[in-house]
Symmetry: C2
Subunit: 341 residues, 2 copies
């Protein structure tokens, strides 16, 4: 089985965006906020948006299951206050849940949180609980910079984040560390902010003792870990300079990288440098890079091709495709087991 642990609902029916635009227009004017009940998307519309897009490509590429979360760039936690984020997260999470119910063989949900800059992270817990207990979510996406490119929240090692970590540990769910749209003109969202956040999050963990406090906490760093594997020697050297244990010991029980690296040399480096137990298959399809690579005539984000072509044993490939995902996402494993898979 091939599990893609990084898919977002980037193809939701237009009505969702229209509703969101109304919500954004009403920021600061609570009386004119649209009601969630004013958004109506039928099962047929959901089915169509998936079958013609993600599911079509999954079938073409031979992917079996996607861990599916709300569109990352649309989380936009910097917009409005906690109420705005809370309503928006509930709507987006419900849609992913409905997709998972319509296609239980192919999609399983991961939740976005109703984060809001400067707001106590304990405020995210009710949505998290609902998503895990009622919607069967197997993971969360955690935004380390809800300000959208201004980086005004404390580092991930700060106690500010602990309420979320405590709940993650209780439920035994991992978090993908994933920022949203940049509203800082310096940072292009998918070309700079995403990759910078991956590198930043890794370094925040490296310099801290977060995983002493939470030995079972697990973070998935997307986009192949940002700049981290390419600079693995730099990070090993910095850890050594700081008298930290070797990275394998210091971080790799808790940090995992996905395979969203869109060319063969990048995947080759990732799989050469990072222990195979820490690599999880993903494509982030349909996402930031939707075109066809003129060099290969295949989709840039068809990452399975790169894994197939990388130099490794079949057992290693199995770990990347399925084994590691079932270990890092125990609730995913339980759901699959319950399905007899």
């Amino acid at each position: 089985m091939i599990i893609d642990i990084h898919g977002h609902y980037t193809t939701a029916p237009k009505a969702l965006e229209t509703w969101r635009n109304r919500q954004i227009a009403a920021v600061g004017q609570p009386a004119s906020r649209p009601k969630p009940s004013e958004l109506n998307i039928s099962d047929d519309e959901l089915r169509d948006s998936i079958e013609t897009n993600q599911l079509r490509l999954m079938r073409e590429r031979g992917l079996d299951l996607t861990v599916f979360s709300p569109r990352a760039s649309f989380m936009a936690h910097h917009i409005g206050d906690f109420e705005v984020s809370s309503t928006w997260a509930a709507i987006c999470n419900e849609l992913c849940y409905r997709v998972s119910q319509l296609f239980p063989q192919h999609f399983i949900p991961a939740a976005m949180l109703p984060q809001s800059p400067g707001v106590d992270t304990a405020s995210c817990i009710p949505e998290l609980v609902k998503c895990v207990e009622e919607y069967g979510n197997v993971a969360i996406n955690l935004n380390p910079d809800p300000s959208g490119g201004h980086w005004t929240s404390p580092p991930l090692s700060d106690r500010y984040w602990y309420p979320i970590y405590e709940k993650m540990v209780e439920y035994d769910i991992p978090a993908m560390i994933h920022v949203s749209t940049s509203c800082n003109a310096c940072f292009h969202t998918t070309g700079a902010h995403y990759l910078n956040a991956d590198t930043t999050a890794f370094m925040q963990c490296l310099t801290s003792d977060l995983f002493h406090d939470f030995p079972t906490l697990r973070f998935v760093i997307p986009h192949g870990g940002g700049a981290v594997p390419y600079h693995w020697g730099r990070f090993r050297g910095l850890a050594q300079e700081m008298k930290k244990p070797p990275l394998e010991e210091h971080l790799l029980d808790n940090i995992f990288f996905d395979t969203c690296v869109y060319h063969q040399p990048g995947i080759n480096l990732l799989t050469e440098v990072i222990p195979v137990d820490n690599i999880l298959f993903a494509s982030e399809m349909i996402g930031a890079v939707r075109g066809i690579d003129p060099y290969t005539q295949h989709y840039f984000d068809d990452t399975k091709r790169y894994i197939e072509a990388a130099d490794m044993h079949p057992e290693q490939r199995f770990k990347i495709y399925e084994g590691n995902a079932r270990r890092v996402y125990p609730r995913l494993d339980a759901a699959l087991t319950a399905q007899g898979r």
Copy 2:
């Protein structure tokens, strides 16, 4: 000849830091600012700080010449106002100039600029002119985020930066795009902020038409280009999505990467993915990562070993070691030619 295009004066005599600390303590109290004349460092002290450090390692490693600029993390353009930055830049640039006079065979200077957040970049021109015309500097370091991790300046494509570009074009000198210390708790200086800035700068160029306005402008992106070569497929795909020309055509007449990547797989990827004409040898020694890699028993930052071990022809290695530097830094070439080298 082996030219290291990325060296900082990280080993300056202690008196420099002491003077700087007095300057910082006096921020906001102009009357108590220390005078530059209160800093006294003898030629013997300079000689000693270089001979026992950079020059010793250059000899051990077989490096001939270093493009030498003030310590990047000490630029700290966010501290104080323009006057503070201006005095500090003048002092640091003078020291690098003196080192180049003491060791003309081994060091040639590159200048830091007296940048200050929000201040017109034209204010940097007098220092730049002095450094090129009087001190023989062959390049500048340009900080794309003088705020130190808050990213409050406009992107590099903005006209805010044009006064500097105009002078660079006039003098035909490149800029290394290099941030300084992060004062944002989210970003570790050398483990996150440096790499993020490299990626960010590249993407700012990619999304813009800066090199239409300045066809001969040249940027060196240090630290192996941040995350860029590892994600080369992503950047190619994003450029394609934006209807930009292929990256080779769109950016690679103007953007170059150094080899400050501290392990063999990273250098292998860099030299596989990026055209050889765009790679310049560098180590940033003595810098962020000073230790010995327990896997190889060699210094992490002994990047010459990785270049030697990478799969390439001798002519390609010549370009990386010398040929490209002489092309991208014409004033370096002229200085070497004048020395009969």
